[in-house]
Symmetry: C2
Subunit: 152 residues, 2 copies
Amino acid sequence: MYNRAVLKRKIISTFGKSGLRNSSKRNAVIDAFVSSNTHLNTEELYSIVKSKAGIGLVTVYRTMRLLVQYGFAQEVDFQDGFTRYEINDDLSGQHEHLICIRCGHITEFKDGAIQNIERRARTKTGFSPLHHRLEIFGVCKLCREKEGHEAE
Amino acid sequence: MYNRAVLKRKIISTFGKSGLRNSSKRNAVIDAFVSSNTHLNTEELYSIVKSKAGIGLVTVYRTMRLLVQYGFAQEVDFQDGFTRYEINDDLSGQHEHLICIRCGHITEFKDGAIQNIERRARTKTGFSPLHHRLEIFGVCKLCREKEGHEAE
DNA sequence: TTAAGTGCAAATTCTTTGCAGATTA
DNA sequence: TAATCTGCAAAGAATTTGCACTTAA
């Protein structure tokens, strides 16, 4: 598990080495991002930081784009119409998403077998995997219980 | 492997039972979709059908939405700014996507281990998987060769 | 006949960009 | 000081919707 304060320092240090400046507003967005436990979209990140520091939506977009470019953030797509972000799996350990098509609830799920799939992809096709996204769509336990397990 | 003519008939029959009509323009979009081997986006599907039948872009959007709703099409996201569609994996057999972050080339890749991951997800969390998306981002063989395998 | 399907243009929604002023190194 | 950063408003791009007309059942 990554440490958030460490991650934040690493991001700012990496940015600094690339000629990006250590701005207080951008830092507030980085803070909101590394502190979040869920998969926030731009609007949600904005609603966190705008009260704190009078930050504009555009700054959130620009900061998230940088975080993706530099490999600290990864875009995830839960088919709800928003681009969402999470801390790059390579930093925190790979995980998959179980997405309930009834209630929209997201469960994170770890399974080491993905590593084997990536290894086979490399062996069979010469493709060199860097990171992945696995989203499994289905019906969560609670919704199945509500429906009397019809979804079985 | 599904048969395309059979699939098309199945779609139209399912639509008919739901009170949707058998319209020639919608059929042209369905045709273009079931005949395609790649992951077409709306604009690409439109460019196929507009010459044939004077169909509007809006009809393509509406048809693809129906195909997704009824489970015949699945949206895929290759992070190129477009929503792309493929025939639902449940109908043709599951496959994964290897996406080259240099040249954008997509390779389809089959690996049965995903079934085991889905099974473990069900056992561990009570989640009932219906379908999944696995996208592995990395560098394809050709790009690696061009780069002298730096990406290793 | 009548409910569904369609195209056009307008409206929405998410995201990016131009530019003048603010901030950081 | 000099380059980067920022917010605002405007522009873009993908997608949806309102509405009058067309078509299938």
